[in-house]
Amino acid sequence: MHAIEDLVLVGMSQRTAPVAVREQYAVSEEDARALLQQLSQGGLVEEGVVLSTCNRTEILASTTDGTQGAAALRGALFRNVEERHIYSFRGVEAIMHLFRVASGLDSLVLGETEILGQLKRSLEAGVTGRQLTPLYEQAITVGKRVRRETSIGEGSLSVARVGLEVAARAIGRFEQRRAVVVGAGETGMLVARNLASASIGSLCLMNRTPARSAEAALDLGGGVESAGLERLPEEFEAADLAVVCVDGAEPLVNAADLNRKALAKRDQPLVVLDLSVPRAVSPEVAGLDGVIVYDLDALLPVVEEHRAGRAAAAEEVTPILIGEVHKFLSLRTFAAFTPAIEELKTGFAEEREQLLDRITSGQATARELELAHAMERQLLHLALSQLKESARQTQSTAALERAYLRFVDGLPGDAG
């Protein structure tokens, strides 16, 4: 069994790095696969999963050497990044962090549910085996349990909803307004659904692929327009609210692409929400007359307000998390002992047969057979009890609780 300390996690999130830094290290699914293949061929990393969302990029790996493994992961994913933007955990702390992420405790919006889908996809794209597959499966189970049994998921917000709440301060009632959503991916569709349920006056969905935006508009129901990106300047001119949620290395919306004069003449400002990482709206756009831009970092104070209101819900999660970490560690230890237990049983049975043959020359009586089996059972029971006791002593719940509270205290930002 690998030592637990060979489990290594290295990453950056909205707690440790602003969006301007995070966007440089976002990793697509394809790049993640290629990176993990490369790392696993090196011999140091046996299994690995990369999680890259709008708020974090992190890699969890099972390595042959924890210290060297952490350095290798950092070099592979976060070269030239300042130390203060990176966090690194090993062993039990890595597990605690993963379970917190799955529970939504480490999310920008406390208790949000998008992270579970992101974890599933990252597991599918990862290089996993006996170490990480059960770990991620249990993390996802923990995430579902926490949301089912505590109030952390109640009235669950998403960054999209927080953004729309902010936009409403400028555009007022949604019924009489026009919105354009750029990007028909998961976040874009979530925004579009939120707008539709807020009875937005008119909505246009835009995507790089017009066919995809048409299909997505149909999914949303009647009355939703669709367009390709070539119509972006006209749509921005006509809209009261523009929400941009796309993937891409370069900004999609630049000041040069927009009609500055038309925007400056607008009676009310255009509100632009940039929910992309890397940012898809160039910073110059915020300086244009008649435009107000909010990116993810700008929305952080509003999100923190909601977080403060959910502090009590976060406390409900702690005992569940500690229990689940303990369960995982115990199961892991038992799983490691299973081959040893099977070997013990086989070995004891063989020894019993050999001993009986030697003593009775193959002519054992029923009484002698019964005695031999009884002794085998007693000795096996003693040996297994010793093994189980050592597994239980891996870590007691009380010790885990202390370790968890120390871990949370040491996290950067308000860890909730």
Binding site: V166, A168, R169, A170, I171, G172, A264, K265, R266, D267, Q268, P269, G290, I292, Y294, A298, P301, V302, E305
Partner: protein, 278 residues
């Protein structure tokens, strides 16, 4: 008796308006606001009634419609501004804006009592319908212009907060930008119509009295029409390309400053007032 009552009201009214400003200011606390809505509404109605009483007493002393000097005009504008605000926000209360309006009312009422003795003028007040209409429309217009300026100021504050991406109490508790812009323009429209009517009635009165040299080309008259035109532009700015809500708000704040300046100037330099031609 009248004199004592007037003095008592002169002292009480600014304090009451200030207290109302503080009570309505608690609405900036959002969910943490104490449950005082009924009490402050009752206080508001009482203050309004007391202020109206002041003018009833003044009218009684003047033998009918109260005769207003510049300082009493400040008080009249204060009363009408509060009444107008309460009327337009009857269906959709705006407690945070009310706090600002009541602080402005406090300042107007304090100026009225501090710089000019609040006293019943013994001269007879206006008796003709045209004169009363002139006074009422100009006071209404001035109150509307005050409101327009206040709403414009709040629009600019909120807009600035949004551009700077800050989320303080103003961001959370003020009406949204569109509502503020709408109220700026609506108040400006009331001011524009009031001024248009009031100035024309005043000119009509001057002609009927045979005041020499008084006509539409007179510099006083032209300056009043310029102010009227200024607020007309604000009122209809949504239909005028290039005058954004932001620019209209700046214009409203500028207009408010002009109005206050004109009122103060006419008090300090009586020769500058229309009524010096009487």
């Amino acid at each position: 008796m009248n004199h004592e009552l007037i003095q008592a009201l002169a002292v009480a009214l600014p304090s009451l308006y200030l207290f109302l400003g503080v009570l309505y200011g608690m609405s900036f606390a959002g969910d943490r606001e104490p449950p005082i809505q009924r009490a402050r509404r009752a206080l508001m109605l009482s203050t309004f009634a007391l202020h109206a009483c002041l003018f009833i007493v003044l009218g009684d002393a003047s033998g009918g419609f109260p005769r207003l000097d510049v300082w009493l005009s400040f008080s009249a504008v204060c009363l009408v501004m509060v009444a107008l605000f309460s009327l337009v926000t009857l269906r959709q209360p705006q407690p945070t804006v009310a706090a600002i309006v009541f602080i402005a009312a406090f300042l107007l009422q304090l100026t009225s009592g501090m710089f000019g003795p609040l006293r019943a003028l013994t001269e007879r007040g206006p008796s003709s319908v045209t004169t009363v209409m002139h006074v009422l429309t100009v006071v209404l217009a001035s109150a509307a212009v005050m409101l327009s300026g206040l709403y414009g100021f709040l629009y600019l504050l909120l807009f600035r907060q949004m551009r700077r991406q800050t989320f303080g109490a103003l961001f959370r508790q003020l009406p949204d930008l569109r509502q503020l812009a709408r109220m700026t323009r609506l108040s400006a429209l009331t001011g524009f119509l009031g001024l248009l009517l009031g100035v024309n009635v005043g000119i009509g009165m001057a002609h009927s009295r045979g005041v020499e040299g008084f006509g539409y080309t007179d510099s006083f008259v032209l300056s009043m029409f310029a102010i009227c035109f200024h607020f007309g532009l604000i009122a209809f700015s949504k239909r005028i390309p290039g005058i954004t809500a932001s620019r209209a708000s700046w214009a409203a704040v500028g207009g408010l400053t002009l109005l206050l300046g004109a009122l103060v100037a006419s008090a300090l330099v009586p020769e500058a007032s229309f009524h010096s031609l009487d």
